[in-house]
């Protein structure tokens, strides 16, 4: 038990009392501490363990009968269909040089210098895009004139529209010279812009049509003085365009699916043997993309890294090719994906059509899923009318539902408890632990003090059995069982806590029978309380 300066002193009540004494003695200087012994009886700790303490609430759900279900949902889509229709940064640069026609030639206002219509091809790979809607990006332009005169430069992009209005860049330059050009630049935010990629003819793909005209500025009365070698340089730069919607032929692509679902962050299946009554596992594929796909799961494996064991999921339907048909889009504006009618594929796996129970009874801490996804396995069957809304594309989700109706055999939970205190812990006495078990399984409890290296230095509780609650004829009703435990606590043991020792707890759970399933309801709990009785020593320095 703990001496007055430790646990006793840290109870509110005792501290009030000691406060009085301490104040009275505070001003006295002592060569040695004032000490005396007291007999204390006091509570130390209490708590309640429910299943939700062992498993995050987000993974637990009780059904209408109060039976716990372990639910796990994992998104398996690790391939990014956005990349199908990604548009790279594209630079269009035009350099026009005055031919050797002589120097200082005077051109009147309105005199046309350059007129050029052009299809610029985007450097996309293996896709044939007809139109896209940008969700972000910029169009940067830069006009540079070495001509000694006022020019008007008009860059017209009829296929780059915002709300149906084509984009026109109209720049009026000031006179430059052969050494110092006049330069003007600007930026257009492409968010929400529709970009027609069918070119001048309207039947092509990946092409942006543009019209360029440069002339002596008609709004300025002075003529332009042109000499051989004078240049006009025009740069149009599509910077970091992101696609919200795209239409075209996306090509035939194959992606590898290699997903590792790590449970360690959410739940750690303990050691021991688990017998599950019913388990269901659903694979659901929801396709919002206007192209076909084919999914082939290579293997689905549960891995117990503690034991090194793994089990392959065996289900005929899952191991066959899953053909995902294209979604349909009735929208004209393509403003969002709400108009898309997705397609669904779902595979339901349970004890009757698979080895799912063995799969999970392996107590996996991770699942490994491998496979392939082929986009447009049949090629361009829509005449270039694949579509995608990148905000909502293809999702493949795994949903696991385990009703907690289990058999347990030597199911082992472990925990490490670190006790921190600002004062020295001293004790010599007993702890009385009372455990009230409302779970229909027994527990065998071990507790020991360990050092930082994990070496056991003291045994607190050695294989103390906590009786299982007795199930009644009424489902979900049990008769709780109380088990008292006495623990000797020595000063020697508590001294270890000053050197960063910890308490290691181990609980081994067993149902009455491994073959008979015990149902775990949400109202089941295990209460514990710890109280101390000891002769303790109070010390005032």
């Amino acid at each position: 038990m703990l001496r007055g300066e430790s646990i006793f002193a840290h109870t509110v009540k005792s501290k009030i009392i000691l406060l009085l004494t301490s104040i009275a003695l505070a001003s006295c200087k002592r060569d040695q501490p004032t000490t005396w012994s007291v007999d204390v009886a006091m509570p130390v700790a209490h708590g309640r363990i429910t299943l939700s303490d062992l498993v995050p609430d987000s993974l637990l759900s009780a059904d209408e009968n109060g039976l716990w279900h372990l639910l796990l949902e994992e998104n398996l889509t690790d391939f990014n269909l956005d990349s199908l229709v990604a548009i790279p940064d594209t630079l269009i640069q035009k350099i026009f040089e005055v031919p050797p026609i002589g120097n200082n030639i005077s051109l009147p206002p309105g005199q046309q210098l350059i007129s050029q219509n052009e299809n610029t091809t985007l450097a996309v790979n293996d896709v044939e895009l007809k139109e896209v809607i940008a969700k972000s990006g910029w169009l940067e332009y830069n006009f540079k004139s070495y001509v000694n005169g006022h020019l008007q430069c008009i860059y017209y992009l009829p296929g780059v529209t915002l709300n149906g209005v084509p984009t026109t860049i109209d720049v009026h330059t000031l006179p430059g010279n052969q050494f110092v050009p006049y330069e003007e630049s600007g930026v257009i935010d492409l968010t929400g812009y529709h970009i027609d990629l069918t070119g001048e003819t309207g039947t092509q793909s990946n092409k942006i049509y543009s019209e360029l005209e440069v002339k002596v500025d008609p709004d300025v009365p002075q003529p332009a003085i042109v000499s051989s070698g004078d240049e006009v340089i025009i740069e149009i730069h599509f910077v970091d365009p992101k696609v919200a919607y795209a239409r075209g032929y996306f090509g035939q692509h194959e992606y590898e699916l290699n997903e590792v679902v790590d449970f360690a962050g959410d739940i750690s299946f303990p050691e021991g043997a688990l017998n599950l009554d019913q388990v269901s596992l659903d694979f659901a594929v929801q396709n919002y993309v206007g192209s076909d796909a084919q999914i082939d799961f290579g293997l689905i494996r549960s891995v117990n890294n503690s034991t090194g064991d793994y089990v392959l999921l065996n289900n005929i339907e899952l191991l066959q090719s899953i053909n995902v048909t294209r979604a349909s889009d009735n929208s004209i504006s393509h403003a969002d994906a709400s108009s898309v009618e997705p397609t669904f594929n779902e595979i339901e796996i349970d004890n009757s059509n698979s080895n799912i129970d063995f799969f999970l009874e392996n107590l996996p801490d991770e699942l490994v899923i491998t496979g392939d996804v082929i986009v447009n396995p049949l090629g361009d069957v829509t005449d270039g009318n694949d579509f995608i809304y990148t905000a909502q594309a293809l999702s493949a989700v795994m949903r696991l539902d385990i009703p907690l109706c289990v058999g347990l055999e030597e199911m082992t939970l472990r925990d490490t408890l670190e006790i921190t205190s600002d004062v020295e812990l001293t004790a010599d006495g007993k702890l009385f632990i009372t455990v009230t078990n409302g779970f229909p399984f027994s527990a065998r409890l071990d507790a020991s003090v360990i050092d930082l290296a994990g070496n056991q230095t003291h045994v607190l509780i050695d294989e103390q059995t906590i009786a299982a609650a007795v199930e009644t004829a009424v489902a979900g009703e049990v008769i709780e069982q109380t088990t008292p435990i006495e623990v000797e606590v020595s000063q020697d043991m508590l001294d270890d806590f000053d050197t960063q020792h910890r308490i290691a707890l181990k609980v081994v759970l067993n149902t009455n029978s491994f073959e008979e399933f015990a149902k775990l309801y949400e109202h089941y709990f295990m209460d514990f309380s710890v109280r101390a009785e000891a002769e303790t020593k109070v010390s005032i320095d």
């Binding site: 004032t34 509570p43 062992l54």
Partner: protein, 413 residues
């Protein structure tokens, strides 16, 4: 400067001065001392008394050592429901001028006084003692009443006053320098232990006062006030008042008030088997005690005392003395005492004393007074003689007075 330091040290080392005029001065027919021009008086006294706590216990409590269970049990057996202890220490220096007169009266002189004063009072219930020193095991299934009171204060007085050169009656008005003050008063404290010891509950209502904690030390000046002392000798009867006054403390004085209850059932442990290393931190007092605190220029009273003494001759040479002192505080009872003085020669007075009340019980003491023909006087004694000899005594005290006369002045009417 060295002289001042030595004087301060002397004042500090000596403790509670008896403010009454020494009986010898009233009984001795030789009044030649009144012819001196200056009289310097040094007083020191120290007192520790309890009706129930013995010196060995208090010594270990204050200065360290292990208090045995047997010792604690013995004390517990003699405790009443309410129990107290008190202590004080005073060291003082007084200068009396016989040479001058005041208000045109040659028998009235001026005096100056300086003293350093320490006072402590403790009041506790039997239950509180048992709970602190024997633990709560014995209180399983019942409630311990733990209302208690504790107060200490330290202050210095610098006074000026006048005295009657013939009777040594005097009155002094002092400026008081507050050094420190602490008071814990638990008006209502109940500590309950459940039969199993798995629930503790505490009801606490009271207050804690303390002076400025940002500065500490001798004569630090945390507050200032005034005090009135007087001692009137009406023939063989002496009436006295000591420390009738107050201190107003600086704005950093704090008054904590608490009135709450709490139940303790142990630490709440709710994260077992979350399969990580959990940390269980023991809670701190500050986390759990509920209180309000006010700061301001609070005023506290000085540890006043009111006394009366009657002297009378018994035979030709011997004298009797009877007196009473009342200290108006929560702890002290009225103290009465009697004394018998033997005068073997005009220069030596031996006095035997008995007393009861105050902070202690019945006790015996003695003192010895010595004077030369004119210039020197000394008194030394104790009000609790067994306390000097045995740590089993429930108190101890000692006092000393030294007086030196200088020069000559006119004999007074």
């Amino acid at each position: 400067m060295k002289k001042l330091s030595a004087l301060a040290l002397l004042v500090f080392i000596f403790a509670k001065a008896n403010s009454q005029t020494p009986s010898l001065w009233l009984l001795d027919p030789d009044t030649g001392w009144q012819a001196s021009s200056i009289m310097i008086r040094m007083d020191a006294s120290v007192m520790l008394q309890s009706r129930h706590l013995d010196l060995a216990f208090l010594d270990k409590l204050a200065f360290g050592g292990n208090i045995s269970a047997t010792h604690i049990d013995n004390i517990s057996q003699r405790l009443d429901f309410r129990n107290g202890a008190g202590a004080s220490a005073v060291g003082g220096l007084s200068i009396y001028s016989f040479a001058d007169s005041l208000f045109g009266k040659s028998h009235i002189g001026m005096h100056f006084k300086a003293s350093s004063n320490y006072d402590a009072q403790l009041l506790f219930t039997h239950n509180a003692f048992d709970l602190i020193f024997q633990g709560n095991e014995m209180f399983r299934g019942r409630t311990a009443a733990v209302g208690s009171f504790f107060q200490t204060q330290a202050f210095q007085k610098f006074g000026v006053g006048m005295f009657d050169k013939r009777t040594m009656s005097e009155v002094t008005l002092s400026y008081v320098n507050g050094q420190s003050f602490d008071r814990l008063l638990i008006n209502d404290g109940e500590f309950y232990t459940s039969p199993l010891g798995d629930t503790l509950s505490l009801l606490y209502q009271g207050e804690y006062w303390r002076s400025d904690t940002s500065q500490a030390g001798f004569a630090v000046g945390d507050g200032q006030g005034a005090a009135l002392d007087f001692s009137v000798n009406l023939g063989m009867i002496t009436l006295g008042v000591r420390n009738a006054g107050f201190i107003q403390w600086n704005p950093n004085f704090e008054r904590f008030q608490f009135d709450s209850s709490t139940v303790w059932t142990g630490f709440e442990v709710d994260d077992l088997f979350e399969l990580t290393t959990d940390t269980l931190g023991l809670p701190q007092l500050e986390d759990t005690i509920e209180y309000t605190v006010k700061r301001g220029n609070f005023i506290t009273g000085l540890p006043a005392a009111y006394n009366v003494r009657v002297l009378g001759k018994i035979g030709r040479r011997n004298f009797g003395e009877f007196g009473m002192e009342i200290q108006p505080n929560l702890v002290a009872l009225p103290m009465v005492y009697g004394a018998f003085t033997v005068v073997p020669s005009p220069h030596h007075y031996f006095t035997f004393r008995i007393a009861t009340g105050g902070y202690g019980g019945f006790r015996i003491g003695w003192d010895y007074q010595f004077k030369t023909n004119r210039n020197f006087y000394m008194r030394i004694g104790t009000e609790n003689f067994p306390g000097i000899l045995s740590k089993h005594s429930r108190g101890a005290s000692g006092f000393v007075t030294i007086i030196q006369h200088f020069g000559n002045s006119t004999k007074h009417d």
